[in-house]
């Protein structure tokens, strides 16, 4: 089974290799990295928590939605959890399409959806030793109407 959520450092090369496709002229990659400040406070690192089984499902769903909504041929998402240092990569999104506009749109869709829907939580650590969980987006269960569609 493809792993999308892992506590190991993320590696871009295998994502590029598994999506290689001569029918694609455009590749867009998004990556999130741990930033050294947030709202003016100096940050020393970040701990990511996740509901791994549900997050795996949600990331796979977002990949499938990107393929269904945009003219793209590949969308792969991997997210790291656990303790990350400054500069560490927390997420890679790799999109390949025939043309660039669709690749950009799909990558943007994917990261926006990950932030809104993936059951993943950031705890920010500060250089003064304090830490806090970041505010986020409340999850909603899919409505029965949506299921029936």
């Amino acid at each position: 089974m493809t792993t999308r959520v892992t506590d190991a450092p993320l590696d871009l090369a295998p994502l590029l290799a598994e999506t290689e496709d001569d029918a694609c002229g455009a590749l867009v990659i998004f990556s999130g990295t741990v930033r050294n400040t947030n709202e003016g406070r100096p940050v020393s690192g970040m701990t990511y928590d996740a509901h791994v089984a549900l997050a795996e499902r949600v990331l796979a769903e977002i990949e499938a939605e990107a393929l269904a909504r945009f003219a793209v041929r590949h969308c792969r998402i991997v997210h790291r959890i656990g303790a990350l240092a400054l500069g560490d990569v927390s997420i890679y999104i790799v999109v390949r399409a025939a043309h660039r506009a669709e690749a950009f749109d799909a990558a943007r869709y994917a990261i926006d959806q990950v932030k809104a829907r993936a059951p993943i939580w950031k705890e920010e650590h500060y250089t003064d030793g304090a830490s806090r969980y970041l505010d986020g987006t409340p999850l909603r269960a899919p409505s029965p109407e949506a299921d029936a569609r």
């Binding site: 928590d49 509901h51 089984a53 927390s90 969980y133 269960a141």
Partner: protein, 82 residues
């Protein structure tokens, strides 16, 4: 009925607990019943009820979703991944 509850993100911090076993009366229950039982055991959850979501196993669940003996109920605060 025995269930397990798992607290994620700041709920783990606020309850001081990653996972706990809870007992629900009777043999029929819903997610709503699990939340009420967890609230009794972990009163600090009260501050998070407005933005709480729940999972049963690997799926998001509504308050009315039925649960069975042995289910694992996830308590999910607002998400902030990426």
């Amino acid at each position: 009925m025995h269930i397990r509850v798992t607290f994620y993100g700041r709920l783990k911090q606020d309850t001081g607990t990653r996972q706990a076993a809870l007992e629900l009366p009777g043999d029929r229950a819903t997610v709503r019943d699990a939340v009420e039982a967890a609230l009794k055991a972990y009163p600090t959850l009260a501050a998070h009820l407005d933005t709480l979501a729940c999972s049963v196993g690997a799926a998001l669940a509504d308050p009315g979703t039925p649960i069975r003996d042995g289910d694992e109920i996830g308590f999910l605060p607002p998400v902030s991944g990426g």
